[in-house]
């Protein structure tokens, strides 16, 4: 069986991801993980006796890229042009039928590729496609392979699509070229100098050369996307200038819209010939607009937004505790069972004290991460996220960010990594960079275990004015501290940095839609998998290393006490540096292991106290910590002040190496991740120092 590839392309918000999720089912390998240059999702399925690999690309409005996401699509399409082997067997172009005219724009650019195109008129459950356009005529006028009324939410059109793909695979060589927009003879003449340079330096088809020349003329920066030497780029600029010199200056601004004018002219002509009924006039008030009258209202909008945020965080802390207690109990019971059944010896110690204690300390946070991800997916899939962007743009600009920074920042409360990746939609480099730089200051889900442990163990549950719980208040303060610092630094960076900025904000506000259960569920499963498998691997390895470092060297076949172990030695070596912050060497080991991931500090402390405890049962970490006494001073190792100092340290410290690896790939230089590590470490040390010593002076020790 030969492997066949179909690529999914389309505008943002056309429902492409839902189509991909419908086509590929639950069992799939999704490779949208950081570190991969090409951000696409790939999945293989068996359909009608052939294996079909689907590739899902980021949504684009045009082949002329304005954001990194669109640049990825642009570069992929150029790789198809340069190598026949890289070409997919077909393009599945997903178009929102309720907004057909605009959705066809990007499609007209793909028509030049000589790859069979199947257009899915998605959202057919919301509007009957045959009442909007004559599908047969549209197919004939564009001369595409097939046009199928489709609905990802109601699974309409799936069989027809499967049969169409089988046909494409069988009749591969019978491809006929599509109808494409024609460049007028006058414009052809105007473009000649550019066309000549392109023909001299690239081997593209005639129609594609015309398209490229148009793009170069219409856009000031498009030529930068071409894969060629500086010399060729200079020749292109020269050719463009010679074109501009031949035209009257007053006409220059209309040149910028030359390509869109041409394409929309083509689209309108095709749609006219296909009995297109532009049913919805600009006057008409849609349901979405009525909802927007409330949700993006000048006064109610922000209030509702804050209410939703409050509801999300409240639910995470309330509902997650049930599965968390369950996991906690199960892991402890499992550890004790294994302890009973395994023969005494090194292996048992490794499994129970090393692996189970370490990994168990992490699995417990899965419910919280999944809940947060669930809310994020719902906010995005309903279309509400774009409204927040619209609502917040002015305020985000005030602090040096962009309206589109809101989504990365909100994702940052779950994990900085997807947050950093989602900055790709921000079209201005400076604002994108600043968003990345401040993102790790937003308290992510990995800090939560540290806060929960420290607050649970050392902050008394007392109530202020009978209803504000002190524990909850401290938690809110930690989140607030990170967020407010992030905003202040954003403002500072925007003043200091001299990166290039593009002060535009063009954002489609898609209609409100009901999220598709299947699609939401699948995104959640993938998120959970990534967390458990990728993070889990690192955590498992570190747990074993920590266990080894705390358990060895053995003295006369017996475990040495923990201060004589390797870990003890390392911890004691760093202790002088962290002593001014109130931390002892055990916390020192935790700080070091946190470089893998912040939550590892919990499993590290858990492993240390489990090994230190001679007994057979697994120890309760909170009790062990609050009973721990420093043998040199006779004082307790942990006091509420130490706990707060430690939490403040975790608010600011640069610890999760995976984040910086992703920043490296996203910014394409080590400069920015190194800068982040420095400024965050300095901030953590200074703030912790102030909190601990300030607290001591006030008599809190």
């Amino acid at each position: 069986m030969i492997n066949n590839t179909f690529s999914l392309l389309g505008n943002p918000n056309c429902g492409k991801t839902a189509v991909f999720n419908l086509l590929t089912g639950l069992d799939q390998k999704v490779s949208n993980y950081p570190g991969i240059t090409v951000e696409k999702k790939v999945s293989s399925v068996k359909i009608n006796n052939s294996i079909i690999t689907f590739e899902d690309y980021p949504g684009s409005y045009s082949l002329n890229p304005q954001s990194l996401d669109e640049k990825i699509v642009h570069d992929t399409i150029f790789s198809w042009i340069n190598s026949t082997a890289a070409k997919p067997d077909g393009i599945i172009y997903v178009a929102d039928v309720t907004n057909l005219r605009r959705n066809l724009y990007f499609c007209t650019q793909l028509l030049m590729l000589n790859i069979p195109i199947v257009i899915l008129l998605n959202m057919s459950d919301l509007a009957d496609p045959s009442s909007i356009v004559n599908i047969e005529k549209l197919k004939k006028n564009l001369n595409v392979y097939e046009i199928i009324p489709f609905s990802a939410s109601k699974s309409i059109g799936l069989d027809v699509l499967n049969d169409t793909m089988s046909n494409i695979i069988l009749n591969n060589e019978k491809f006929t070229s599509h109808n494409i927009p024609r460049v007028s003879p006058e414009n052809k003449k105007i473009l000649t100098p550019i066309t000549k340079v392109i023909n001299d330096n690239f081997s593209f088809s005639n129609s594609f050369v015309k398209y490229l020349s148009l793009s170069i003329l219409s856009s000031n920066s498009y030529y930068k996307n071409l894969n060629c030497s500086e010399n060729v780029k200079n020749k292109i600029i020269e050719a463009k200038n010679s074109v501009l010199n031949n035209i009257d200056k007053s006409m220059h601004s209309s040149l910028e819209t030359l390509e869109p004018d041409l394409r929309y002219g083509f689209i309108d002509e095709i749609l006219d010939k296909s009995d297109y009924k532009d049913s919805k006039e600009v006057e008409s008030l849609t349901v979405s607009e009525k909802i927007d009258n409330v949700l993006t209202h000048a006064v109610f909008g922000p209030i509702i937004y804050i209410g939703i945020l409050y509801f999300i965080f409240q639910s995470i802390f309330t509902y997650a505790s049930v599965p968390m207690d369950f996991i906690d109990g199960t892991v402890a019971a499992f550890g004790n069972k294994v302890h009973e059944f395994m023969p005494e010896g090194l292996l048992r110690d490794l499994v129970v004290d090393g692996i189970i204690a370490g990994v168990g300390g992490i699995v417990i946070f899965l419910p919280q991460i999944l809940l947060l991800m669930f809310f994020m997916i719902i906010l995005e899939d309903t279309g509400y996220m774009t409204r927040i962007t619209f609502l917040m743009d002015k305020y985000m600009r005030k602090i040096g960010l962009h309206g589109k920074s809101i989504l990365p920042i909100m994702s940052g409360y779950a994990c900085a990594i997807p947050g950093v990746i989602s900055t790709r939609t921000i079209d201005s480099w400076k604002e994108r960079l600043i968003t990345i730089l401040i993102l790790p200051l937003i308290s992510c889900a990995a800090r939560l275990p540290v806060y929960v442990l420290m607050i649970g163990a050392f902050i008394p549950q007392v109530y202020i004015y009978d209803f504000i719980g002190l524990q909850g208040l401290v938690m809110v303060i930690m989140y607030f501290l990170g967020t407010i610092t992030a905003f202040i630094l954003a403002k500072v960076f925007s003043k200091v940095l001299s990166e290039r900025s593009n002060p535009t904000f063009i954002m489609e506000l898609p209609p409100y839609r009901m999220p598709i259960g299947r699609s939401v569920f699948k995104q959640l499963i993938n998120r959970g998998k990534l967390f458990l498998l990728d993070a889990g691997k690192i955590i498992m390895a570190i747990s074993v290393i920590i266990w080894f470092l705390v358990s060895f060297p053995k003295i006369d076949g017996e475990y040495s006490s923990i201060n004589e172990s390797y870990a003890g030695k390392i911890g004691q070596a760093v202790e002088p540096i962290i002593r001014p912050l109130g931390f002892d060497w055990k916390i020192g080991i935790g700080l070091i292991t946190s470089f893998a991931a912040r939550e590892v500090v919990v499993s590290t402390l858990s492993t240390i106290y489990n090994v230190e405890d001679e007994g057979n049962e697994m120890v309760n970490l909170k009790e062990a910590m609050s009973n721990d006494v420093d043998p040199r001073t006779g004082n307790k190792v942990f006091t509420p002040l130490v706990a707060i100092s430690l939490m403040v340290f975790y608010v600011y410290a640069a610890q999760c190496m995976a984040t910086f690896a992703v920043v490296r790939t996203e910014t394409n230089t080590w400069k920015w991740p190194v800068f982040m590590i420095f400024y965050m470490t300095a901030l953590a040390y200074i703030m912790s120092f102030i909190v601990f010593n300030g607290g001591k002076m006030l008599g809190f020790y």
């Binding site: 532009d278 002060p503 063009i506």
Partner: protein
């Protein structure tokens, strides 16, 4: 001739020309804001925030600065 930002709420204008700087002209026109298009002003965000427009069958938000460089009649 007035600019798009001055359009009254819920009134309709026909795009005459786009004079925006940077790359926004191109993207705006790719989104369908080309001379001759009909738009309706839906909402202006307070404190000089972005505006929401209806264009063809969909809604689009753009910044005040860009809206002021688009002329309508």
């Amino acid at each position: 001739m007035k600019n798009l930002y001055e359009l009254h709420i819920n009134t309709i204008g026909k795009i005459k020309s786009l004079n925006t700087k940077n790359e926004s002209s191109l993207r705006l026109s790719e989104m369908g804001l080309i001379p001759g298009s009909i738009v309706r002003m839906v909402k202006r965000n307070p404190f000089g925030g972005p505006v929401q427009l209806k264009l063809n069958d969909y809604y689009i938000a753009i910044r005040k600065e860009d809206a002021q460089m688009i002329f309508v009649e």
